[in-house]
Structures are given as C-alpha cells and as structure tokens.
Symmetry: C2
Subunit: 401 residues, 2 copies
C-alpha cells in the first residue's frame, strides 16, 4: 500500500514528538507500505513568524509572508527526515517546490493547480520515505506560495491524489470524528466512517481535525482520508465515498455552531428586488449570510430573517441602516445558536426532521429558524438551550448506542 | 552606483535591529543608489537549528541539514523586505535559488558555480531593493545547498561580482579592520584601506568581520569590499586591489594566533621520504600543518619542527607515534603562539624582518620558529609573551601614529 501520513503542528510540536512521529512512520514502512509524510510547522512557529512580520507592518506583503511562513514546514520536514534516517529508514525531505506542487499566484491562500509527482515517485521507487513540507507550493514565476491556514491538510490530500495513494492518514491530537462534541455530551461516540458530504456539513465537529477545503478536495479526487491521533493507536475515522449498497446511517452526528447572530428586518417594502439589494450589499461587505427566511406578511409587506456570524453583526447593521426608508425596522439577536442534524440516510427516509422538531418541543425549546438540505437539518434556537438541544438530539437518534 | 550590502547575524539579531538595517538600506537607496542586500540568519538561529538536528543524530544527513539551515536566512530576508516596504522602499525578497545562485553538490560547504543574475537585474531595473537570503544556493538537481559558516559573506561577494557592483559593504558589529587587536593594544588604529593579500594574511584581525574565503573570492572577482559597522556611521575599511603608484604601506598590521601548538620530532632517520610520509599521514587525518622547519643535524639525522592548531595535537601525536622506529622522539608544546607582521611594503623594502627580530630581542622574547612570505613574517614565541610582542611590534612599526 502507498499511504500518505500528515502530521499537524501539535503532533510535531517538540523534538520528542517529532521522534514519536518518526517511530510511527518507521512502523508503517516496516509493515511493507510506501509512505509519504506531509508535515506542518512545529506548533507556535507560524504564529511567531506572523507576529514578527506584524512588528514591521499591519499589512505585510503577501509574497514575502509566504517566503517567511513556508520556512516552518521546511524545518520540520528536514528534522523528520534526519530522525527517520537515524531510525534506519531511508528518507528524503522535500520542499513544496521539490515535491512538484504548483499553485496559482494568490499568495497566502493559493490554490494548487497541479502536482508533478515524478520526483516523489522516483524517491518512492528507491524505497525512500518522502517527507514533504506541507502548506506550500510554488507559483509559475518561481515564488513560494502558501495555501492558507490548515493548508498542510490540503497538501496531503492533493499529494495522495497525485500519487493515487491508498489512503491519506491525517494525524492530530484528536482520534477521530465524534457523533457530537464530547465536551457537551460525554456519550458522544467516535464514528468508524463518515461520508465526505456529511463531513462537510459537520464541519464544526471536525474543525480541530480537518480543514474543510481538504475534505472538498478529497471528495473531488476520491482520496480516502483517515483521521487519527498521533498520540494513540486508536483506529480513527474514515472519511470516504458513501458506498452503494451500504445501508446509510440515518443520522451521523449533531453539530453545534455558537457563532451565530440572527437579524430580522421588519416590514420590508414591496419595491421589487429590495431583498436582493440588501443581500448584494451584505456580500459586497464580505458578510457571510447563512440561513435566510422570508415570510409573507400582511398588506404586501414581508419580514426578512437571516443569520450571520456574530463578529459580522456590526457590519450588517450598518449596511441595513442605509435602507431605512425601505424597511420598518430591524431586530438583532446574538444570543442564538445553530444546531444541525446530519446524515446521508435522510435522503431516503422521511420523518427525520419531524423527530428533531418534536424532541426539541418536548424540552420546550423553541425553534426560531429552520433550514434543510438533502442530508442536514439546521435549527436556530436560543443559545441558552445549546447543550440541552445537542444532548436531546444525540439521544433521540440513538447516537450514544 | 550599485551597492551590495551584507548584514551579519548580530546586525539582524532582533526585530529592532532589522528595523535599523531597513533604515540604512532606505538611506542608501534615497541617495540614488541601486541596492542589493544579502542577509544572514538572526543570531542564534543557526545554532538553534543545529542543536535541533543533533537531538536526532550526531551525523545528520547533509542534504537535509541544508534544507534546515537555509530557513533562517529566508526568514530574515522576508522580514527585511517587509520592513523596507513599510518604509516606502519597494523591495523583493529572494531565496538563493530565486537569486540564481547555483552551487556544486557538496552539501554544507558548497561552492558557488555560477550566478544567473537576470532575475535580480530585472527587479533592480524596476527600482526595487533586492533582499537575498545569504548562505544558500541550489544544486543542479534542485536541492538546497549551503556555503558553510560565514557563507553569507561569500554570497554577497559573489553577487557583487555577478552584478558588477561598485562595492560590497559588509556590515557587522565591528567598524573595520584594525592594525592589531584593540583588546591587546588600545592604540590600535582602524585602517582606511587594506589590500586583499594583506587581509588574507591578517585573517585573525578580520575574523569577526570577514570570512577568508570571501576575501579570496573578492580578489578573484575584483570586488571592492567595505567592512563597516551596522551600529555606527563610521567610515569602515576598504579591502581592495593594491593600486599601482600608491605608496605601499610598509606594515599594515600585527596579527596574533593563540591557537598554536608546536611539534618537534627529534632525530628523524635518513630513510628517504620519511618527512613526506609523516606529513601525508597528518593530511590524511585532516590535521592542518602550518609552519614547518627542518634542521639538518649531525650524523645524517634531522630535527623536524612544525606547528598545528592546538585542538589537533592529540591526533598528531597518534600519527607520529606510529613512526616510532623511524624517529628519536617528539616534543609537544601547546604554550606557544604565532605573531605575524603583515604589509605589502615588505615586497620592496629590506630590513622589515630585522626590525621585528631586534625589537623582540630587546624585550628578551625568544623566537622559536620563523616563516616568511612576500608580505608576512610569522614568528612562534612563548604564549606568555603574546601581548608584549604584539604591543612591541605595533609600536616599532609606528602603527599607533
């Protein structure tokens, strides 16, 4: 098997931990696998370098930031290759450039355009473990580029795709994806498997484990991800293609997003296109509108409700106030949260939503807004009920069994 | 004018000092010059990274060490470019690769083979200050290479040569080259000018300022070096071609090397080639023999005396003991030092050596060994007389005037 391992900043956060990683890689190699390892910078390094740059400038040049920030992963890659060789495992460290990773010119959040995997393949064929500095690539003009926060996950998935690897194992300090946040519901269970689509909907459950962009890329490239802990031998969670014939799990998990605010605009006038104007303006200000509900009300006037991240509330308020002659007024509420029920089984099963609604009703939790997709039901409720709602839903769908 | 600035680790040892460097570069640019800046890693960084690597291995792979160690200079280059831009000076940071520096494959002590200066020239033509990460280049197969300790000096001189720059200003925490070590002789004077050849002979006086390999390269490429302090506006010392017609200074400086040990092999047998055999064996063991004196003695036997660095004394002893049937015995003395008088004027003036010998004789300092070159007289004396000898010679050649 050809396996890509990816180790995050915490997993390589000290020399001792890098040694631990070397042992894990050596073990995988000794079991007969070909192994490519993608590493992040040692935890704290990237933030230190950002602080350095911000000492000089609040808006440092992005091209130079990429040259600066890419150094941390290079250090880890070189150290891990040295540690592997000392363990008797032949290894070679590669920068993003040497690994053939080409990106566009969008410094600090570059997109991978192509991977020329021939250099990696050459070294693999020689029996070497290839250790790649994650998070980085090279632009067409030869500048160093980085892929944005969590970009090493993206490097690992893209490399696994380019090498047609059997799996991409993403190691962190968490041993997999849970049915809900174990800090809220101690009965939360680690999942053995979750589909790409469910994982994308459950982003908040995987936030510490996996960058969302990398799940999207894995889905596109059909790369099987395994989320594992570098501090234990637990099995981890497979994130993969939903298999035909496999009986779909009705509900996979319950996600909670506390960073929600609700905006209600009252008595929006019936001038055509006014809602569209408001949302265009919000988009111009980079305000991410999530759920939207429009209620027909009396006398041709409507109420318009939507949710945004709490941090964008002030910006949204300013935008809406500019429309004051077209609206009756607005209400802002930042004491709400979003609870989501996710499962591919919803596609083919009726009644999943009804189960959620009645379970919350039994606890006297009022649902303020609802939005649904094929595999998700999201509900806006008062923030004070967040934990109760998560536990109630976790239990009603038998996730603790 | 096109000027290359090079700032060593102490000069960029903190964020404040990098800011200071940015001001100096901005000033040089504002005076109408084109400026290329070569930087070292922040002081302490390279040693930290070496310690990291040695945590894993006493003999870490040289290729991976180069990937590791080259990261420090990249950080400084990126930060300085960011600082310059914030000062309103357009700048671009370049790695060794981006600056076109190609080396051989001797990782950790690579030699520069060629510089393709076109990328630097392109940016200079756009009016930008080019900030190059020193100490590094790239091998033919695309691996990162480093040039050995002090290699950033070498980068700067090589770049100045490739760009046909008007000067290569090497900044450190010392403001130039002195006639002798000011810690020994407080009357030591900073020189305005010193020739390449003198500088090479006075290596110990420039040890904190300039790497010797870079003086050799500057001589070869005819690059004018100016050794200056990054902490003052003092003029510095020019290291350049000895000019025709310029009246050569008789004696430029007095150097002291305390790291000397003297080996005397008594009664070397007259078997042909025995001395050559001993020296070949010493060379095989990487023992650097400096001065050699062979005295014909009675009955066809000779005494053979030579000096080596003190740290290599044990190794030399082992080598020589293997010849015990060919020699009468050996004496080892590590309480000696070497005092050197250097000056291009010696070429054309007689009596310079005689002045030194009689000055030391007046102080009752016995000269144990002597070696001379066209522009240097070196003398081995007892270590206890080191300071006295330096002050005596400094005075007798009027260097304090």
């Amino acid at each position: 098997m050809l396996i890509v391992h990816k180790y995050g900043g915490t997993s390589v956060g000290s020399l001792e931990r890098i040694e631990n990683v070397a042992s894990r890689v050596a073990k995988a190699k000794s079991e007969g696998n070909d192994v490519v390892v993608v590493v992040s910078a040692m935890s704290g390094e990237t933030n230190k370098l950002i602080a350095y740059a911000n000492h000089f400038s609040a808006t440092p040049s992005k091209r130079e930031m990429d040259m600066l920030l890419s150094s941390g992963e290079r250090v880890t890659a070189a150290l891990l290759a040295i540690a592997l060789k000392e363990n008797g495992v032949d290894a070679i460290a590669m920068t993003g450039r040497q690994a053939g990773i080409k990106t566009d010119n969008a410094h600090m959040y570059a997109r991978i355009e192509s991977i020329d995997a021939s250099a990696m393949q050459h070294e693999i064929a020689l029996g070497k473990v290839v250790v790649v500095a994650g998070f980085q690539g090279i632009t067409e003009d030869g500048s160093v580029s980085t892929l944005g926060r969590g970009g090493s996950d993206l490097s690992a998935v893209a490399i696994a795709g380019a090498l047609n690897a059997d799996a991409c194992e993403i190691y962190s300090d968490v041993d997999g994806i849970y049915t809900t946040d174990p800090r809220i519901e101690s009965k939360a269970k680690k999942m053995d498997f979750i589909s790409y689509d469910e994982m994308l909907e459950l982003a908040s459950l995987g936030a510490k484990v996996l960058q969302n962009r990398s799940v999207e890329l894995a889905k596109k490239l059909k790369v099987k991800i395994v989320a594992k802990s570098s501090f234990s031998d637990a099995e981890g969670t497979i994130i993969g293609e939903e298999e035909e014939g496999m009986e779909a799990v009705l509900v996979s998990g319950i996600a909670l997003d506390r960073n929600q605010a609700r905006v209600t605009i009252r008595e929006v006038s019936d001038r055509p296109g006014i809602a569209a104007e408001i949302f265009t303006k919000l988009a111009d200000e980079q305000i991410n509108v999530d759920m939207i509900i429009q209620n027909a009300s009396s006398a041709g006037m409507t109420n318009l409700g939507f949710t945004i991240p709490q941090s964008e509330l002030a910006g949204a308020k300013a935008v809406i106030e500019a429309f004051d002659h077209d609206i009756g007024g607005m209400d802002l509420d930042d004491s709400v949260c979003k609870v989501s029920v996710v499962g591919v089984g919803m596609k083919s099963h009726a009644g999943v939503a009804a189960t959620a609604f009645s379970a919350l009703a039994r606890e006297n939790i009022n649902i303020e807004m609802i939005s649904t997709s094929e595999i998700k039901i999201s509900m806006i409720i008062a923030e004070k009920y967040a934990e109760l709602a998560v536990r109630t839903l976790h239990s009603v769908y038998n996730l603790d069994k």
